[in-house]
């Protein structure tokens, strides 16, 4: 009697050990087919000879990579992507910390300010980017009209006129759409810091800056780390802003890797080369994520 129940229990235990897979099945099936299969497809395409119709004609070795690396514009595209990602995430991070600190204070209209901050995150990036494209327009743009009316300029500024100035404008738009989500992530991190720390620090005579650098930022560090990793991935992978505003013009000088891989695949019909860019991008991101997490984890365990 006793043994039979324990056998039954063990059997049930084994069943429930694997029961979890049943619960996970829908999620895993969906992700496997529609995320991991494209990952494999992309890797396969990158080392294949691909026809213009997208058919794999055979193994191509590293020819696609050689082709892509040999493009005169490739260096510029990589540089653009790195600048785009680092400046965007860096500036957004600093501004988001300030914004989160401000929105964590109590003041009149805080609720309204938080709601307004949601707008750039919740609006379609295509729509935001087209609004800014019009704002920056040389001849008819809203910003030039405004600056003229205010008497700040005498003649119109060609914001999107050169590759460099257009790129700066697009980074500004990128920062605008990156800040909201960053701020809300940091804000929830701020709210989990106990007020006891600040009370104790006030008794010890600490001023605002002491509290910021000795309490708030160190305790916010885990949230900051997660935010940096996630947003680096999002910003690196952003396609819509550059695609809508310049579409890489002139001659891919303002392209990031995402815009360039779209151009290669769907304008040039070179799926193999496009897949090679994907793989290069993926390796860069993976290296960044692993290095960052390793470095940060080491630091966290050390302290």
């Amino acid at each position: 009697m006793k043994t039979s129940t324990s056998v039954k229990k063990r059997k049930k235990g084994r069943l429930s050990r694997y029961e979890a897979y049943l619960w996970l099945a829908p999620c895993l099936v969906l992700v496997t087919i529609f995320v991991f299969v494209p990952v494999i497809e992309t890797f396969v395409l990158s080392v294949s000879e691909v026809s213009r119709a997208g058919l794999v004609k055979g193994f191509g070795g590293l020819r696609n990579f050689q082709f892509v690396l040999g493009q005169p514009v490739f260096g510029r595209v990589i540089l653009n992507t790195v600048v785009w990602t680092i400046v965007n995430v860096g500036v957004s991070m600093v501004l988001s910390i300030i914004t989160a600190l401000v929105l964590n204070e109590k003041f009149h209209g805080r609720k309204l300010a938080r709601t307004v901050l949601l707008l750039p995150w919740a609006t379609s990036q295509m729509i935001t980017a087209s609004a800014w494209k019009y704002i920056f327009d040389y001849q008819y743009g809203a910003l030039n009209a405004l600056l003229l009316k205010l008497g700040l300029i005498k003649t119109n500024i060609n914001f999107l006129g050169s590759a460099n100035s257009a790129f700066i404008c697009m980074i500004v738009v990128g920062i605008t759409v990156t800040i909201p989500f960053m701020t809300f992530t940091l804000l929830s991190g701020l709210q989990s810091i106990s007020t006891d720390f600040y009370e104790a620090a006030t008794i010890d005579g600490a001023n605002f800056w002491d509290k910021l650098f000795r309490i708030t930022l160190p305790l916010l560090k885990p949230a900051i780390n997660v935010t940096i990793v996630l947003n680096t991935i999002y910003v690196f992978n952003n396609f819509t802003i550059v695609f809508t505003i310049t579409n890489g013009a002139p001659a891919n000088q303002t392209s990031t890797m995402m815009v360039y891989l779209y151009y290669l695949a769907f304008k040039k019909g070179d799926y193999g080369a496009s897949a090679a860019i994907s793989v290069i991008g993926f390796v860069i991101l993976l290296a960044f994520a692993l290095l960052y997490m390793k470095y940060q984890m080491k630091e966290e365990t050390a302290s």
Binding site: V116, G141, S188, Y262
Partner: protein
């Protein structure tokens, strides 16, 4: 001593309000531009120097857009895609999040990291792979294909958020229900889901907004003009020489309205929901 403290306080307040007012103005500026430009006529948009407010308020722009492009069809497509992918995504993420929060099983760490890794792939990076898969499955140029893809690419986020929510709910509640004879499934539906409602609402709103705003996949996969979503459809106003900005912005503002309906929920849930999701690491 005390006086300087007070002065410092007021100085801090002034900076705070200045920062908030400037920030709010900056964020609202593009929406202001879209609104006033959507009410200008063609001659006024292309006039030099430009105006700030419309001289003549052309409200008929908002009627014309329904005739110039099949805007109603785009609305319908966007709604089908967003509702379909959100429903599918959440339906798959609830059991997954529950299993990750409650059960121990071999390979759990592997599966968790696999789900996290999917966060690293955006649809854009995998564009050619996705395109090829969709052609193979005969799902290119269909809304079904988009629904499946959007649901899959939002799985990681939704499952992670929901598992965080489920982990905050006491195990004893469902154990009590199961002792009373409920199956695990029934316990989940009857006991856990109502308690997890705030987290689920957050996940639904997030996925819906992602789906509503999806652009790149639709651009690449949908060729049939009658299957286009709002984002891609509005792009039709971008001509080769001149963009019909007044129509672009009128349609854009209408396309943004459904999202604004969620703002009340978002404002309430975003901060609390994210904390429950375990941003702490």
């Amino acid at each position: 001593m005390r006086k300087t403290g007070k002065q410092k306080f007021y100085l801090g307040r002034i900076f705070l309000y200045l920062f908030v007012v400037l920030g709010v103005l900056y964020i609202l500026y593009p929406y202001f531009v879209m609104f006033v430009s959507s009410l200008k006529g063609m001659d006024e948009i292309f006039r030099i120097p430009g105006t700030i407010f419309p001289e003549k308020w052309v409200w008929t722009n908002y009627i014309d857009i329904w005739r110039d492009i099949p805007l109603a069809v785009y609305f319908k497509n966007s709604a089908i895609i967003a509702v379909g992918s959100t429903a599918l995504c959440i339906a798959c993420a609830i059991p997954a999040g529950y299993a990750l929060a409650r059960m121990q099983f071999p390979g759990k760490r592997f599966i968790m990291s696999a789900i996290v890794v999917t966060q690293m792939f955006s649809a854009v990076v995998l564009l050619v792979g996705i395109y090829k898969l969709m052609v193979t499955l005969h799902l290119q140029n269909t809304r079904t294909g988009l629904i499946l893809l959007i649901a899959a690419f939002n799985q990681a986020f939704a499952a992670w958020l929901l598992s965080g929510t489920f982990a905050t709910i006491s195990k004893e509640l469902e154990e009590a229900a199961m002792i009373d004879g409920c199956s695990r499934m029934k316990a989940l539906i009857r006991v856990i889901l109502p308690l997890a409602a705030p987290g689920i609402v957050t996940a639904v709103v997030f996925v819906f907004i992602h789906a509503w705003n999806e652009y790149t996949l639709t651009l690449v996969l949908i060729g049939d003009p009658m299957l286009k979503s709002l984002n891609v459809g509005i792009h039709a106003f971008f001509g080769y020489t001149n963009t019909e900005w007044w129509y672009v912005f009128a349609a854009s503002l209408l396309a943004t309205l459904p999202i604004l309906c969620f703002f009340q929920i978002l404002e309430k849930q975003l901060v609390g929901g994210l904390t429950a999701g375990g941003v702490k690491g």
